[in-house]
């Protein structure tokens, strides 16, 4: 889980495994953004799921959104080494791209 006072989360998995990262948020949001950030780079959007969507897929990525429990998840199927990055969820409660980011999950995919 990415919210609250937790420190940066870290996950280490073997190549080929599936992984799910969770995010819970505190205030209403119209959209959940999932970003990945590679070392020395800015965040790059990988999936954007809107409040009227329960699930969204993009290649090996799958995001879910449960507005009733105010939580979202990002799953990666058959992880590859190039999936190694920090993954952030971000919410936009005001609908004006004032994003509130989670702490992030450091994902390491080991060959």
């Amino acid at each position: 889980s990415q919210w609250g006072e937790e420190n940066l989360q870290a996950l280490s998995i073997q190549e080929g495994e599936d992984v799910t990262m969770n995010c819970s948020y505190k205030t209403y949001t119209t959209v959940v953004h999932w970003y990945r950030q590679d070392s020395g780079r800015g965040p790059a959007l990988i999936i954007l799921i809107r409040s009227n969507e329960r699930e969204k897929r993009s290649g090996r990525l799958r995001a879910t959104l449960d507005t009733s429990s105010q939580s979202s998840s990002l799953s990666i199927t058959a992880a590859q080494c190039e999936d190694t990055a920090v993954y952030f969820c971000a919410t936009d409660s005001g609908g004006n791209n004032k994003l509130t980011f989670g702490q992030g999950t450091v994902l390491s995919v080991i060959p």
Binding site: T30, G40, A44, L45, T100, G102
Partner: protein
């Protein structure tokens, strides 16, 4: 894909001096943002900017901070004077529209105040 460029990538400055961070947003974008990330922590919103005006700013956007985009050139964040706690990576971002749209981030400028 669309790119947001930030110049410089790293800047070291003496406490109390002024610094200007430059951002070249995606060319047809209308909304611009600055975010601050302290090492090991999550990224935090500083300010958003549209049509020459600050729309919203957070409590992190101190009085010493200012933003502008004169004549459609660079979108800048100026800190005057700088303080030690301003050391962080500053990310510029832009979007075509507001809300529920993709926000494109630059690579960040690492500011070190000594």
């Amino acid at each position: 894909g669309p790119k947001v460029l930030q110049i410089p990538s790293h800047q070291i400055i003496d406490m109390g001096q002024m610094v200007t961070l430059n951002c070249d947003p995606v060319s047809n974008h209308l909304y611009f943002y600055w975010y601050k990330q302290i090492l090991g922590q999550q990224m935090e919103f500083l300010v958003n900017f549209y049509n020459g005006k600050v729309m919203e700013k957070s409590k992190l956007f101190k009085d010493q901070f200012s933003v502008e985009r004169p004549d459609g050139s660079y979108f800048t964040l100026k800190i005057q004077p700088t303080a030690l706690e301003d050391s962080a990576v500053y990310f510029c971002a832009s979007s075509l529209d507001r809300g529920r749209e993709e926000v494109f981030f630059g690579k960040g400028t690492r500011l070190t105040v000594v």
